[in-house]
Each structure stands twice: as C-alpha cells, then as structure tokens.
Amino acid sequence: MNQKQPLIALRDLRRIYTTDQLETHALAGLDLDIARGEYLAIEGPSGCGKSTLLSVLGLLDEPSSGEYILAGVPTTEIDAEEQARLRNREIGFIFQSFNLIPEMSVRENVELPLIYRGGFDGKARRQAAEEALKRVGMDHRADHRPGQLSGGQQQRAAIARALVGQPSLLLADEPTGNLDSESGEQVMDLLGELHDGGTTLVMVTHNPDYAARAGRRLRMQDGRIEHDPGAGGA
C-alpha cells in the first residue's frame, strides 16, 4: 500500500438526521485527511458532531453523502458485509463505557474480533488474546468477568480487545470519561505507547490536557471543522 496515501480521506462528508419536522446536520460537509501513524484528538462542545464523526470513521454509521476512503477502500461503495470485514481488519474501538460483554470472561471478550475475522483456531485466538492482554498489563485478569474488574481495568481490557486484531486505526470515544484521574492517566499513557508503536489513533475528548498529548488537535463546531492545524498540509 502507498504509505503516502492517507489512511483516512473524507471529502464533503455529510451526515443528516431527519425527523418529521426537523433536519439536523450532524456533519455538514467535512474534508479531512488522516495519515498513517497520526495521533489526532477531536475536541468540541457536546452535539458538535464529534461522536458522529467517530461513528462514521468506524463504519458504524453511514454518511448521508460525500466520500470516505479508508485504507484505499471507498467505504460508501461497499456493502454492509464488506464494511464489517473492513471494520474488523482495520479498526479497533475504545468506548467511554468500555462495552465489554458481561457474560464473557476478559479473554473471551478479547478473542471476539478474531472470531469474526475467521482463520484462527482456538489456540491461536487464545495466544493472540493473551498477548494483547499482556500488552495492556491485564494478562493476570484474563479469566475474570468484567464485573469483577475496576473501571480502569475494564478499559484496559477493552483496549486489548481493540488491539488484538492489529488494526491500522484505533478510535477512542472519551476513553477516560468514566474513569478516575489515576486510571485515566494510565489509559492515556497506554494509548500514547500504542501510538509510539505506530498505531494511528483518533480520540474524541473533552479533556484539553489529554488532547494536548495528540500530535494534531482538531476542533469541531456545528458539524464543521472549526480549527485543524493539519489542514492544508499543516
């Protein structure tokens, strides 16, 4: 793959929510390139479209119009199954509320992306999950249920789940929003380490200190990019 080609390219991307009486422009024509290995923080007030942008980037939401190219694949031209495969291969998610499945052990949660990818037998899955958990310092909690872990531990397990498939892009939506400051710091340090290891990281955050750790800070307002130092080759 051409390393100079951006990992993400958005062109006039729009997301409009329509009800009987109202049309809301959550994303009002975005143009954005994100290079491989970049660490991007998205900031902005509530309702400015940060999370919608993250959902669209993660192929969890369909844009109403415009173009979104991920790793060279025009995502608006592929069907839902292909999108799911692309999501599984290229994207890892980290959510504010962790979204671990409570009925499964930590290891089983981490193995899930590999189950959907296919081609891994049980042993290979287990090994990959244990490696991912080791990376986030959670290997000793592999057989615990999420309910038995602290918030910080749950988020680290969620990061292991995001990492296990070795995606080219990590999307983090307020990853420290439900954590105390100590756990928040640990998670941010971990994300920093991952970026240093070459992972592309896009993070939505309200916390300016954490945003400051990113190489590029993008500010949104009313569905538009209000400030982007990276725009125009910055």
Partner: protein, 802 residues
C-alpha cells in the same frame, strides 16, 4: 383508591394508543382464544351439565345404549324386565319403544300428528317427568286386564282439547277403543324421543291394539327401545356399566337384530338419542375445552411478552416511577390495570366472536347425531369464561412484573446484553411443548383421515352418481301404502330408458341402502348351524357394474325381481368357509340360491371389519325408495328431471332428494373423522400460531434488550449475516428444550390416540418426526424478523454513552 385507579386507567389507554397495531394484534389474539374457550365451555356445559327442564329430577338418570349402527338398545321388553330384576346398581329401569308411528289413527275423529311413545312399566318412576295435570302411568296400568289409559302431551292437550282443565278422567275414542286420560305432561317434557310425542301409553297396549294386533308373545321379544334407568344413590356410571356388562350376557335374545353384548354396551348420563355419539362428543369437547384453555393461557403469556418487546422504554418508565417514589405494590397495580383493560377488551370481543363460532361448531358433523340446543352460552359457561379472564389478567400483568426486575435507573442504562432468563426458558418450553402436543394430535388425526381415504371399500366410486329419493312433506308417523312390484318395475324401466339414453351413461342400477346411507337393514340367517347376521341390500340388475363391485364368482342379476342372492366374501367364508359358493342356498327355495359372490363392501366405518352382505332383488329396504346409481358422466340437473318423471309412476310425491357423487356419499362413512381432524387442525393451527407469535415476541424482546451487545459485536467486525446467524442460533438454542418437550408430548399423545381414536397404522414416531420438523420451522420463522431487525441496527447511536 378510585382516583389512583382512574389515573392508571388513563395511563393504560395512553400506553396502548402509542402502539395501536401491537395492541390490536394482542387483543385479537386473546379474543380468538377467549372465543374458543367460551364456545367450548358452552358446548361442554350443554353436553355435561344441561338440566332437563321437563323432569322433576334429572340426577342419576342414565341412557343405556350400544355402539354401532343401532345406537339404541336392542333389548326386548323381556330383556328389560330381567335386567331390572338382576341389577343392584339401578333403582329403576324402563324404556320407550322406537315404534310409535301413529299412521292414520284418529283420536275422536281427528287425525293425529307426531308419534306415540309406547312405554315399558316403571317409565314414569324412572324418568320422573313433570306433569301439568293428573298422574303418570302406574304399575296397574300395565296389566293386560287393566283399563286403557293415556298420558297426553301438553301440545296435544292444547291442540285437541283446548287446554281443558277437566280432561283428567275423560274417556276418548281411538282405534275402536275407549281410552281414559290420566295425565297431561308438562310443556317442557317430550319423552325420550326427538320426535314430537302425542301421548304416552303402555307398550303392550300400543302393539296389540294400535299396531294391527301383534301377538303379545312376539311383542315381549320385539327389540328397539330407548332404555333409561335411575342409578342407585351413591352408584357411579362406571359401576353401572361394569355391572350391566356382566348381566347382558344372560339376557334373552331378541326376536330381531344382534343381541346386546358386553363390548358394545354403553351407559351415559341423561336422556340422549345416541349414547355413542354423545360419549364421543363429550370426550372430544373435554379435550377441546382443555386445548382452548391452554391456548388462552399461552395467548396471555404471549401478550405479556409481546408488550415487553418495547421493554427498554417501559423499564425506563417504571424505573423512573420508582425513582420518584412509586412502591412495588403501586407499580403492580398499574400493570394489573393495564392488563385488565386488555383482557376485558379481548374477552368482550371474544364473546362476540363466540356467537358465530358457537353456531359454526354446532353445525359440525362432530355433533350431528347429538341434540344441541343451538343456543350460545349458558351461565356456567359464562362464569367459567369470566373466571378464566380474571386469571389471564393476572398472568398478563405478572409477566412484565417477572421480567422487569428491580434495578437502578443508572444500572439499567448501562445494560449491554440480554440473555433469556428462567421465565423465557419456561415460556419457550411450555409454548413449544403445547404446540408440539396439539400439533402432533392434529397431524395424527389428519394422517388417520388420509389413511382412511386409502382404504379399499370394495367399490369404484369414480364417475358414479347417486340419486337418493324421498317422500315430500309427510308428517311423522304417516302410513305409507306400499306400491306393488309392477309399479316399481315400470318406474325403474322408465328411469333406465330416460337416463340410459343420455350421452356418457354406461349403466343405471338401483340399490338400497348404499354405503354412507345410515339405514338399518339386517337379517339373520342360519346356515349349517352357523348364525349369520348380515346386511341386506335391495338391488337391481346392473348393480355390480354400476357400483364397481368385484365379482369373485357367478354373475349379476339379469332381470328385476329375479330370485336368488349375491353374497359377499365375508358371508361366503363365514357360512361355508370358502368363496366359490354359487349354487348353494342361504335359505330354502330359489330366492335363497346364491348366484354370485362379490368381494367385501364396507358399509360401516372403514376401521370396522367388513360385515357379511346379501344382495337380493327382493329383500331389505323397500325397493321403491332405492337410490339410483348412474355410472358415467352426467348433468345432475338433467338427471334429476328425468328421474322425477320415472318416480311419478310410483307415487306423486316421490322425488329426487339429492344427487351427488358416490365418493361424496362414501365420505359419510368418515364424516366424524373429518370433522374431528378439521377441529383439531383448527386448534393445532391456532396454538402453533400462538407459539410462533410468542417465540417471535420473545426474540424481539431479547433483541430489543440486547441491542447494545449486538452493536458491540458489530463494532468488533460482525457483519449483518453474522448478527442474523447469532440471533437465529440464539433462538434455536432457547427453543431446543421446547422442541424436545413438544416432540415427546406429541409422541405420547399420538401413541395414546392410536389405542382408540386414531388408526394403528398412524406411526407415532413418524408423526413426532414431522412435529419436530414443524416446531423447528416455527422457531426459525419466528426468529427471522428479529434477526433481520438486529442486523439493521445502527451501532453508532447505540454505542454512544448514555
């Protein structure tokens, strides 16, 4: 309290108005179930609890009959007397003769309509009818040297005697005798018969004085009575039946017909025309009522689950109510009011539906030999329906209460996954179990019906048309002047000419009775010391070809009134141990000589063994009433006109009653089986639909509650097909115990049915396999929509932190 109730009621109306289609569907489903329940409860009540308003006391009154073509006992007066002397379980036993035709008998110069009920001694003590005036017949009235006495019906008293209050003791003239009127029956009492009874009189008097002087010796051995009895206090129906089974063995053989045997004997409560049909109807109604109640219970649980398909919203609302101070009791009250509103609406609609359903059920062949009132619901049935409605209200309310567990609002908002709990597992088990049970029974009956249709009845009904004839508008009991043989022959010849000349007609013949026609025509023969009771069929030449009988030996008749007999294989083998019996004699003389042997023909239910049959031109039913059989393709309207022209040569009012295919007539042999299969199939379809709906609602509930988990899976790379598979497999896993349970219940039920109601050729294992496949299909179909819905979820919105 009332204010709180009104608030809850207003809220309930608002809740239902939010989802009008779901609510309408829920009401309709429960209404259908309630309609079935109230209809079956009405029928059950009528068949089991119906009071006879014409009796002083109907407790302990039983009818003694038998299985088979002649449902009423073939006991003679002597047989009844001996039974009475021997029985310990019966206080009284008596009967009314089936031969009460009044012919053209005049009472004080006016021709009587209706029939008399000639009764045996002890009749009034046994039946205990209400009397408007006077008394019933006492022991002295039955002595041969006693007075000639009558008890008038209320209708005859009004019509002939203008309701004369001084009628008791008055003497009237009838058949050259003076008869003293000793009583007048209550208007509600009509004896043991469904015919209109004119009066009651001692049986021996009737037979000796009104029936052209039958010798008394013969009278006492003459059978055909409706036998009724009063159970001794504290004696159950089973004990009576058991005792009578032992006693009938020693009873004197009647002058006609087959003697009553232990295996055919039946005792049922009340006065009934056909004990066998009554008992079958009671049994069927019991099963159907139980099935209807189960359907209603399943419907109620389903509605509870269905309403929870929007559980996340409801749970949030209830959690908010808790947060602002509503206690559990208050919430339970609110759910109860919501449930009651739904159940009351459904019960109301169900009762309206049951008006139509009750009429439809009463028209069913299943009850064709049962006297039903044609009414709708009585008080016991209404009470039962209301009680069940109250239970359903509690059930519909309990389901949400069981599923909406107490939890904090914040906790609720964080819920990721929804796994089926104990309740869902139990509901799935019960619903699929019941669907398997009723579905397998329905399949069993349908398979039984199909197998019956494959039986060889001994004739070929393709392209055969049968015209039955009747006398138009003659009052019951009217005397018929029998036409002479020449008139019948002329008529038949005319009909043959007129029909035979039509294009496509191959042969025309006459026969009576035909299979499927419920006519009793039997004769006793003694051949080489062997007693043979055979069905006698009056036939004409051409009958073998017309009906497609298989001629084994000899030939068909060649002319009308030709002496001789054609016997069936069973007859030949029973009498002589072989089928080649042409030239042998059934009785002395040319008329008794066998000219042909045909293969067995089934005149009774195909499950019964073939009976010996004798075909003759001069035996059995009166020839002039024989059915016309036409082989070939004909136009029914044209045929009817031409036959009527020929019938007019016998009697002016002899007409074609009905024209139909022989296959349709043969269908009469299995009419009860078809009705039973239809009704059971209806119940099966309803309960399978309910189970499918319940399973569907449960899957929707689980998908709705577990949307966040599905979104997580999607975020991790699960595509739409993977999500669909996940939901479908989850559904199958949930339903698997129900599938096994339902299949097992079905296996047990069909095995049990093959002992009695369903042919043993129906394989319970095969039925169970089909049931299992059907249940699997139900589960798959019910899961598809929720699975598709799950695959279309928008994970982006669901994964946002609340």
């Amino acid at each position: 309290m009332i204010a709180g109730f009104l608030v809850d009621l207003r809220h309930a109306v608002r809740v239902y108005r939010k989802t009008p289609w779901q609510t309408a569907l829920a009401v309709l489903m429960l209404a259908s179930a309630m309609a079935l329940v109230s209809t079956m409860a009405g029928l059950w009540s009528e068949l089991n609890l119906d009071d006879n308003a014409g009796l002083v006391n109907d407790r302990g009154l039983v009818t003694i009959g038998q299985r088979g073509d002649m449902p009423m006992g073939v006991l003679s007066a002597n047989g009844v007397r001996e039974l009475k002397a021997a029985s310990q379980t019966l206080m009284h036993i008596s009967g009314g003769s089936l031969f009460g035709g009044l012919g053209d008998i005049e009472l004080e110069g006016r021709t009587l309509e209706g029939v008399a009920e000639p009764v045996l001694p002890d009749y009034f003590e046994t039946v205990q009818p209400r009397l408007a005036l006077g008394r019933g017949l006492t022991e002295e009235d039955f002595s041969d040297d006693g007075a000639y006495v009558l008890v008038l019906s209320h209708q005859l008293w009004q019509a002939h005697f203008d309701g004369d209050m001084g009628i008791i003791g008055r003497e009237v003239e009838m058949a050259d005798q003076r008869w003293r009127i000793v009583g007048v029956a209550d208007p509600e009492f009509n004896g043991l018969s469904s015919n209109r009874i004119a009066f009651w009189l001692p049986y021996r008097r009737f037979m000796a004085d009104l029936q052209q002087g039958m010798p008394l010796q013969m009278v006492d051995d003459f059978p055909f009575f409706r036998i009724v009895a009063r159970r001794a206090s504290g004696t159950g129906l089973g004990a009576v039946e058991e005792e009578l089974r032992n006693l009938v063995v020693d009873l004197p053989r009647p002058a006609m017909g087959q003697p009553l045997t232990a295996d055919r004997l039946l005792v049922v409560n009340g006065i009934v025309d056909n004990p066998e049909a009554q008992r079958a109807a009671q049994r069927q109604t019991n099963l159907l009522l139980a099935a209807a109640v189960l359907i209603a219970l399943v419907a109620a649980v389903n509605i509870g689950i269905f309403l929870l398909a929007r559980a996340p919203t409801r749970r949030r609302e209830l959690a908010l109510r808790q947060a602002v101070g509503a206690g559990r009791r208050r919430l339970a009250g609110q759910l109860l009011v919501e449930a009651a509103l739904l159940v009351v609406a459904a019960t109301g609609l169900g009762l309206v539906l049951s008006i139509w359903l009750a009429l439809a059920f009463r028209e069913l062949d299943l009850f064709e030999q049962i006297e039903l009132s044609g009414g709708w619901l009585d008080w016991p049935a209404l009470g039962f329906s209301a009680g069940l409605a109250a239970l359903l209200t509690a059930l519909v309310a309990l389901v949400p209460m069981a599923l909406i567990r107490q939890r904090r609002l914040s906790e609720d908002a964080r819920q990721i996954s929804a796994r089926p709990g104990r309740f869902q597992h139990a509901a799935g088990l019960v619903q699929l179990g019941l669907a398997g049970l009723v579905g397998a029974v329905a399949l069993g009956f349908l398979a039984h019906l199909w197998l019956l249709g494959q039986r060889d009845l001994g004739l070929q009904p393709d392209r055969v048309t049968v015209a039955t004839v009747s006398l138009e508008s003659r009052p019951t009991g009217s005397a018929i002047v029998m036409p002479d043989a020449a008139a019948i022959e002329a008529s038949r010849s005319a009909i043959r000419d007129r029909i035979g000349s039509l294009p496509g007609v191959e042969v025309v013949a006459f026969a009576s009775p035909l299979p499927g026609q419920r006519m009793i025509s039997t004769g006793n023969y003694e051949i080489e010391g062997e007693q043979i009771n055979a069905r006698m069929v009056n036939v004409s030449p051409g009958v073998v070809e017309a009906l497609g009988l298989r001629l084994l030996h000899g030939r068909d008749f060649e002319s009308e009134n030709e002496p001789g007999m054609i016997v069936s294989r069973r007859f030949a083998e029973t009498a002589w141990g072989q089928t080649d019996v042409v030239g042998r004699f059934v009785r002395e003389g040319d008329a008794g000589r066998v000219i042909g042997v045909v293969d067995d023909v089934q005149f009774r239910h195909p499950d019964m063994p073939a009976e010996p049959i004798v075909l003759a031109t001069q035996s059995g039913m009166a020839g002039f009433m024989a059915s016309i059989i036409i082989r070939g393709r004909v136009d029914p309207d044209l045929v009817e006109a031409r036959i009527n022209e020929g019938l007019a040569l016998i009697m002016d009012d002899l007409r074609v009653h009905r024209i139909r295919g022989l296959d349709e007539l043969l269908g009469e042999l299995t009419v009860i089986d078809r009705a039973r299969a239809r009704v059971t199939a209806l119940f099966g379809v309803v309960i399978v639909l309910m189970a499918a709906f319940g399973f569907f609602a449960m899957q929707r509930f689980l998908v709705a509650s577990g949307r966040r988990e599905i979104a997580v899976h999607m975020a991790l790379g699960a595509g739409p097909s993977s999500v669909r598979r996940r939901v479908v497999f989850g559904g199958l896993k949930l339903g698997l115990p129900g599938l096994v349970f339902g299949t097992l219940l079905g296996l047990i039920a069909v095995t049990w049915l093959t002992n009695d109601l369903v042919s043993t050729a129906v394989s319970p294992l095969h039925i169970s396999a089909v049931t299992a496949l059907g249940l699997l299909l139900v589960m798959l179909v019910s899961t598809l929509q929720p699975a598709w819905r799950a695959a279309r979820l928008s994970p982006g919105a669901l994964l946002k932190d609340p």
